[in-house]
């Protein structure tokens, strides 16, 4: 048996926290990081007699996600109680949606080139988050701040077949949710969490193998690692002639392995009950159309448009659209320059080195970087100077064109001046000249470096090289 004869069949269940100001069934704030149990009320604490009321903003954001992910939107759906006992669940049921989800039958294109594929989304439903348990040495405490924070659960069809597929999907999904303002998708704050369903089958087969669920993975990298590990683990069992058990596992980031949580025979029966405290959730076609109209341009469409409109390469366009703030920064800067390709270069290779915030928080005014791109395009400065100017702008704002003038940073493109510098350099570096003539072409680079230093880095590098070659070939 060969591992390569098998393929994993993977479906994901992604929980994304909706970006609402208040919780899904009460008016408590959804803020992250507040002192424990300070963002609670009788409703989210599940006190006797308290009743939920549905936050329409949460519904709107969920519909937005559904539309962006090409789903059908139910004009009539309902909420259900998913019942189980756990100390982080104050009512002993989670209000979720069972048979009638808000969005269904969608999908999205993910990956590039060979790996580009369409992944079906079975359903998206709304639900409330549970609280957080804090385990100390001898007791467990409950923080109910997160109780009732609105979530959507996005369920994919079992149409992913590798760790990379899953990674592609999650990245594409994250981009869409962030672009649409549905969720911040901050995994470190738990606002995006992922369950993985994975089974193994012989390539070419249409059967499904025994399915294992890996719960609550909180980083894309871990999702990929968990899938890779789990596929191998399942193969090893099958290869030894063993049987796989349907079970729930967890990913242990420190060992890189998945571990058994519970066998599926002990799986809970959630005893779903139609939520009697909330009327059926109805949306008119007009409501849905209004939400659709307000949808922003989605990452794929935007990348295609940037490629078309600015002539930049697809890979760069994709980096730019991966962060909506970066994309709008780019488009704003592009209105100030005729040189969008040079702008892209400065943005992606220089500016991003100084910017590690998520979302992108521009350290330099868009007009400034555009001006540098223009000067670069005109030949007013060379690329070394352009990069230096970007770096200096990160430390503090100034007018780059004026600075180039007052500090004499303009590119030297005068043949005479450069010729003089070349000759001087050759005189001072006879050994390098000899090396070059003996076939050591690398010596030219050293000579160019010396000459460039003589001009304080201001020479036109193309012209400089040209003249060197001319003189040396004489």
């Amino acid at each position: 048996m060969n591992f390569s004869d098998f393929e994993p069949v993977i479906g994901l269940e992604v929980h994304a926290e909706l970006k609402t100001a208040t919780k899904i069934f009460c008016a408590c704030p959804t803020a992250f990081g507040a002192p424990p149990n300070t963002l609670c009320c009788p409703v989210c604490l599940g006190l006797p007699g308290a009743l939920p009321t549905l936050n329409r903003r949460a519904v709107e954001l969920a519909v937005r996600a559904g539309l962006a992910l090409n789903c059908e939107i139910a004009t009539l759906s309902r909420t259900d109680r998913k019942q189980y006992f756990y100390p982080d669940l104050p009512k002993a049921y989670q209000i979720s949606q069972d048979p009638y989800p808000l969005c269904f039958d969608g999908g999205l294109s993910v990956g590039n080139g060979e790996r580009e594929r369409y992944v079906g989304i079975t359903r998206i439903h709304i639900e409330e988050d549970a609280g957080k348990l804090i385990h100390t040495r001898n007791q467990t405490l409950i923080d109910c701040n997160r109780c009732g924070v609105p979530l959507i659960e996005i369920v994919t069809a079992p149409e992913l077949h590798s760790a990379e597929d899953a990674g592609d999907f999650l990245r594409a999904l994250r981009q869409i949710l962030v672009t649409c303002g549905v969720s911040d998708c901050k995994m470190q704050e738990g606002s995006l969490r992922c369950d993985v369903n994975i089974s193994l089958r012989k390539k070419g087969s249409n059967e499904f193998g025994t399915r294992v669920e890996i719960k609550n993975i909180n980083s894309f990298a871990f999702v990929e690692k968990a899938i890779a590990y789990e596929a191998r683990r399942q193969f090893d069992i099958l290869a030894k002639g063993g049987d796989l058990q349907a079970e729930t596992r967890r990913y242990n980031a420190s060992t890189g392995k998945t571990e058994l949580m519970r066998a599926k025979e002990r799986a809970e029966d959630y005893r779903y009950l139609a939520e009697p405290d909330l009327p059926a959730l109805s949306l008119s076609r007009e409501d849905i159309n209004a939400i659709a109209k307000a949808l922003p341009e989605l990452p794929r469409a935007k990348a295609a448009r940037l490629t078309r409109a600015y002539g930049i390469v697809k890979a760069d366009a994709e980096i730019i659209v991966s962060d909506p703030s970066l994309a709008s920064y780019f488009e704003y800067a592009a209105t100030y320059t005729e040189h969008p390709i040079l702008l892209t270069g400065l943005l992606l290779t220089e500016l991003l080195r100084y910017c590690h915030s998520d979302p992108f928080d521009p350290p330099v005014k868009a007009e400034r970087i555009a001006e540098i791109a223009t000067m670069l395009g005109e030949g007013t400065v060379n690329s070394t100077t352009a990069k230096k100017l970007v770096t200096r702008l990160v430390d503090g704002d100034f007018d780059p064109r004026a600075t180039v003038e007052t500090e004499g940073l303009a590119q030297i493109r005068d043949r005479e001046t450069i010729m003089r510098t070349v000759n001087e350099t050759l005189c001072e570096n006879q050994k390098a000249v000899a090396d070059y003539k003996n076939g050591k072409t690398a010596a030219l680079r050293a000579l160019q470096g010396h000459a460039m230093a003589k001009t304080k880095g201001l020479a036109d590098p193309v012209l400089l090289e040209e003249i060197f070659k001319e003189v040396l070939s004489e």
Binding site: P42, G46, L47, G49, I142, L273, P276
Partner: protein, 479 residues
């Protein structure tokens, strides 16, 4: 000390007396507290008295009146609450050991509205634990006796509410009605009990039994008292998503009796379970209506079997779900020193919850299991829809459905009631509950032992005004 007679007055009479300075709210409140002191040893309606704060609220009402400020028709008038309405800072138990020491941090919406209207809360009333029962004998915290005969039960689950009003320990009381829990004890205690249209009164802060059936109910002596309380409580509540604005919010009970088309339910006047006195009294009532020009027809209520089954399954399924939060983790009965989580839950719940509650949790949970839900829960929901449709059909043709509130007179305390008899007894009330329609039980007639009987009237949604008008007619024509 005021003459005790004043506690027998109607709300309108209290209002006039307060306005006219005949007595103050403090004197009125004191009169009820005195009555409570005299009657409680034999009645036992109250689980918690809040005399001090009641007197304080009464004083404030008097001060307002002295300044010419009035909050509404109930300003300065005392009342009492079934102990499943949350009251900020005042113990709320649902008559369960589970919540014996539970003090809510918030008021139920109806409580807040009464507070806002200036009404004076006297205390909290006994009930069947978590409103599960029909005799009040399922209370874990006390015994309530029928004020008209201490050997009899009060009915339930709002037995404390009916008994307190019947014993003049409060001029009105709120209770809850899921499948007759206001109407049946009202009938047994000889008072009027209204279950309004589902959603007309906010459920926010009322400890849930079966959320899709639960209604806040009102117990009073008269239809006009009931109308006054209802007026003070209606209005959509943004905290209860199922609450609704009343389209016809004037509940005038006086004036000419309108022309009525009345449907008499055949099944509820037949069979061995129905006592002759009940049949006699209901027929008398029908004849009185006929004599006043009403058109009377006999109708059959749709499929009694499926109505009862639907009610049993849905109410238990929802109850099981609503009871799940009582796990002892955040509040309620809590066993210390148990390290295993399942064991912790099991002990807290085993000790904290009574037999009937456990029975319904088991039954309801079973109905929702993966294997059984299609067979029971889904079918019960479908049956309910059908019943609502057919009730709507009947009430498109008739103004009222009339039947006895109960098939027999009041039970003796400790009397064994067979499950069959209990179900039959529920049947009179569950149609209105399943349909979400308003219904009232008005005292009319006597059983073989001279104890009161109730006449049960059901109308189409939001026709509380009609129900109260007809109830008032039966008060006038009397026994």
């Amino acid at each position: 000390m005021m003459q005790n007679g004043i506690v027998k007055r109607t709300l309108a009479e209290h209002r006039r007396a307060l306005d006219g300075g005949e007595y103050t709210s403090r004197e009125l409140t004191r009169a009820y507290l005195d009555t409570i002191e005299q009657r409680e040893p034999s009645v036992g309606a109250y689980l918690t008295l809040d005399a001090e704060r009641a007197m304080q609220a009464a004083r404030e009402a008097d001060e307002r009146r002295a300044l010419g400020i009035q909050k509404g028709a109930l300003d300065g008038i005392p009342y009492a609450l079934k102990d499943n309405f949350c009251t900020a800072g005042l113990r709320t138990t649902s008559a369960s050991k589970m919540l014996e020491n539970f003090v809510p941090p918030y008021d139920a919406t109806v409580v807040a509205r009464l507070r806002e209207a200036g009404a004076v809360l006297l205390g909290k009333l006994n009930m069947d634990e978590f409103a599960m029962g029909s005799t009040n004998e399922n209370s874990a915290l006390g015994i309530t006796r029928n004020p008209l005969d201490p050997g009899c039960v009060t009915g339930g689950s709002s037995g404390g509410s009916a008994a307190a009003v019947a014993a003049y320990e409060a001029p009105f009381a709120l209770g809850s009605d899921t499948g007759g829990s206001i109407r049946q004890p009202a009938a047994f205690c000889g008072v009027l009990g209204l279950k309004p249209t589902y959603g007309v009164l906010s459920r926010y802060g009322m400890i849930a039994l079966a959320s899709s059936l639960d209604c806040v109910g009102i117990v009073t002596h008269t239809a006009s008292d009931c109308a006054a309380v209802l007026s003070a409580l209606i209005g959509k509540d943004r905290l209860d998503a199922t609450s609704r604005t009343h389209p016809d919010p004037s509940f005038e009970v006086s004036g000419e009796l309108p022309h009525l088309r009345v449907a008499v339910v055949r099944e509820l006047l037949e069979g061995d379970e129905v006592s002759p006195a009940v049949v006699r009294s209901c027929k008398t009532a029908v004849e009185l209506l006929r004599a006043h020009g009403a058109e009377i027809d006999e109708v059959s209520l749709p499929s009694p079997g499926s109505a009862l089954a639907s009610y049993c399954v849905l109410s238990a399924a929802e109850a099981a779900s609503n009871m799940a939060r009582f796990d002892g983790v955040r509040y309620g009965n809590r066993k210390a020193d148990v390290s295993d989580l399942s064991e912790f839950y099991a002990q807290n719940r085993s000790e904290g919850l009574g037999e009937e509650v456990k029975r319904r949790i088991l039954f309801g949970s079973y109905m929702l299991t993966r294997e059984k839900r299609a067979m029971y829960y889904d079918r019960a929901r479908a049956a309910r829809c059908e019943i609502r449709e057919r009730m709507t059909e009947i009430l498109n043709r008739y103004d009222l459905i009339i039947n006895p509130t109960t098939p027999t007179g009041v039970f003796k305390r400790g009397e064994k009631i067979t499950p069959e008899k209990r179900r039959r007894a529920d049947l009179c009330a569950v149609y209105a509950s399943l349909a979400g329609f308003p219904a009232v039980s008005v005292p009319f007639g006597r059983d073989e032992n001279g104890m009161p009987l109730g006449l049960h009237l059901t109308a189409a949604p939001f026709r509380e005004a009609l129900l109260l008008r007809v109830a008032s007619f039966f008060e006038e024509v009397g026994e």
